[in-house]
Amino acid sequence: MSLTAKRASRYIIALVIIFTLNFVIPRAMPGDPLTNLLGEDVILTDSSVIELRSEMGLDRPLFEQYLDYWHGILHLDLGYSFHRHSPVAEIIFARMKWTLLLAVPSLLTGGILGTILGALAGWRSANSCQKASTAFFLAIYCTPPYFLCLLALYLFSFKLDIFPLKGFYDTGSAADIALHLFLPVLVMTLFSLSRNYMIMRGSVLQEKSSLYAAFARAKGLYDAEILFRHVFKNALLPIITLLAMDFGFILSGALFVEIVFSMNGMGNLIYDALLSRDYPVLQGSFLIITLMVVSANLLADILYSRLDPRVRWH
């Protein structure tokens, strides 16, 4: 009970601080949200600048804006984007569904395949097949994400002409969407997979040498039985926390995939908002991502305590 309370209070404090940072950072940036609002060669008169500023609430004291910001958060109102001419929440939710469509399958397949393959690789590390797969995933692990995206796009979409070059869909049918998403999802899956693979491999290598694994062998369990009955779950424990942290990274990190594949998801949204100093969108999306990361962490905590009785007990 007290542990849960402690964790919860920690998360709440963290949230408050992050939300505050979220308010401060965009405002500390140079450049004005008014710039880039209207186009490169548009001339503004001073009076319309003042008008716009007051409309956007930028002329009010910072503290008032800060209070407003909290008021908005508590009322689930993320503000209004003058760059995108819509309420931020609406924009984010429209984008989020696509990013989730991109990220969730990648994370799941990457997570599941990564842990299983990684566990096998760690368990039978001497095997040449495992060595080859380790080398492969290590290479992916070491490649800058955008680079892999572009290479994949060049090879599969351009040279081989299997997949479309951009966007989420052409016609909007499920098949069409699946076709468009295939390559981005594949690339992201590979990334997620390679990381989980590496971590799981290390984790299993470590657990492999534990005494309980030796005892399982002494009890007469054979190879895979030891791995999947005993080692796997233990080795999985650290991964759960990582998956949770990954979640935030994936949401914002889909950025490269989205830029390369011209997908209007959260990543692209943040990048654009950043370049155009669209505070409300920046704040809103950071906020949502933070919330998701925090809830993913919370979820991981819960899952962890379900898997690890030691946590429950203390």
């Binding site: 920690r10 070491c142 800058p144 994400p145 680079f147 572009l150 942290m245 990274f249 990048y271 946590v311």
Partner: protein, 319 residues
């Protein structure tokens, strides 16, 4: 997608619960092995270690050759990388990798870029390791409130969406390699801090720390001469892995056009190759070679880091 988590992601990240909280439990968790068992266990992994070391040897050799490349750029590069020839020359005997849009010799550029790229990697990793180590040591050694606060801060840093934040701040401050390096360092110390903390928690309970305390040594003396040397082996692989993630991040930031284009780094080379038609024209020697260099360098660093971690795992079995 984001390189850091990949690397920060080592199995050491475990909630506190995994550590034994009270005296009795800690004793139950402490591994006690007789000397023969230690020997036999060290031997059991000797082959594994040897194999790992073969890989890390490859990594080390590669690493050294990159470092040499950075140090002796002037001697190694066939031309001054800022010297202009005909632009867009194809690879040939004069210019092994051709020339870029400015007519710079790509091979020379590649060699010179090693410097900045390595610098960013090292500076960021150094910074991250430094902060992470100090935070981890203090939190682990003093425990209690200090630990609570420091780990709370660590949690916050972990939950901040990092890449966007780097982009925000990198565009806020004017992009220079120093800023990018320092930024990444300032954001990515968390995993090191966690690892160092959990190791410090272990070490501070070890007999020799207690003995030092009983002998009357100051906390500072104990932290630096007893605890730190015994956490070095978990810090070192983290340091290596931080180098790797910093380099990937630098390349990614450059790709987004937020790097420092006035300096020659692999990231900016790729950036220019993409924005100046290298990719579209299929001049693979222009964009693929720096990409390969990044991958290769990161690979050798990661290999070394893994080998180190592996050895660490073996050593842990002995302790």
């Amino acid at each position: 997608m984001i390189p850091d988590a990949t690397l920060c992601a080592s199995p050491e990240i475990m909630p506190e619960a995994a550590e034994c909280p009270d005296e009795n439990k800690r004793q139950c968790c402490k591994r006690e092995y007789s000397r023969t068992e230690r020997i036999s266990m060290s031997l059991c992994s000797a082959r594994e270690v040897l194999r790992m070391q073969k890989m890390s040897l490859v990594g080390l050799l590669l690493f050294l050759s990159f470092v040499l490349m950075a140090v002796f750029s002037e001697e190694l590069a066939p031309f001054d990388p800022w010297m202009r020839f005909e632009p867009y020359l194809l690879p040939g005997s004069e210019h092994l990798l051709g020339t870029n849009d400015m007519g710079n010799d790509i091979l020379s550029e590649l060699i010179y870029s090693t410097r900045i790229s390595l610098f960013v990697g090292f500076a960021a990793a150094l910074m991250a390791t430094l902060i992470g180590t100090i935070v981890g040591l203090l939190a682990g050694y003093y425990k209690g409130m200090t630990d609570e606060i420091l780990m709370g801060i660590t949690d916050i840093f972990l939950m901040i969406p990092q890449i966007p934040l780097i982009i925000v701040i990198a565009s806020f401050l004017r992009p220079s390699f120093w800023i990018v390096a320092l930024l990444m360092g300032a954001l990515w110390w968390t995993s090191t801090a966690r690892v160092v903390r959990s190791r410090t928690l272990q070490v501070r309970e070890m007999g020799f720390v207690q003995a030092s305390r009983a002998l009357g040594f100051s906390d500072l003396h104990i932290i630096f001469t007893d605890v730190l040397p015994n956490t070095c082996h978990v810090i070192a692989p983290k340091f290596l892995l931080s180098i790797a993630s910093a380099m990937i991040a630098e390349a990614s930031i450059s790709f987004l056009g937020l790097g420092d284009p006035t300096m020659k780094s692999w990231g900016t080379m790729i950036n220019f190759a993409f924005t100046r038609g290298g990719f579209i024209n299929g001049y693979w020697w222009w964009y693929l070679t720096p990409g390969l260099c990044i991958t290769l360098f990161v690979l050798c660093v990661v290999l070394m880091g893994f080998a180190w971690e592996e050895q660490e795992r073996t050593n842990q079995r002995l302790e």
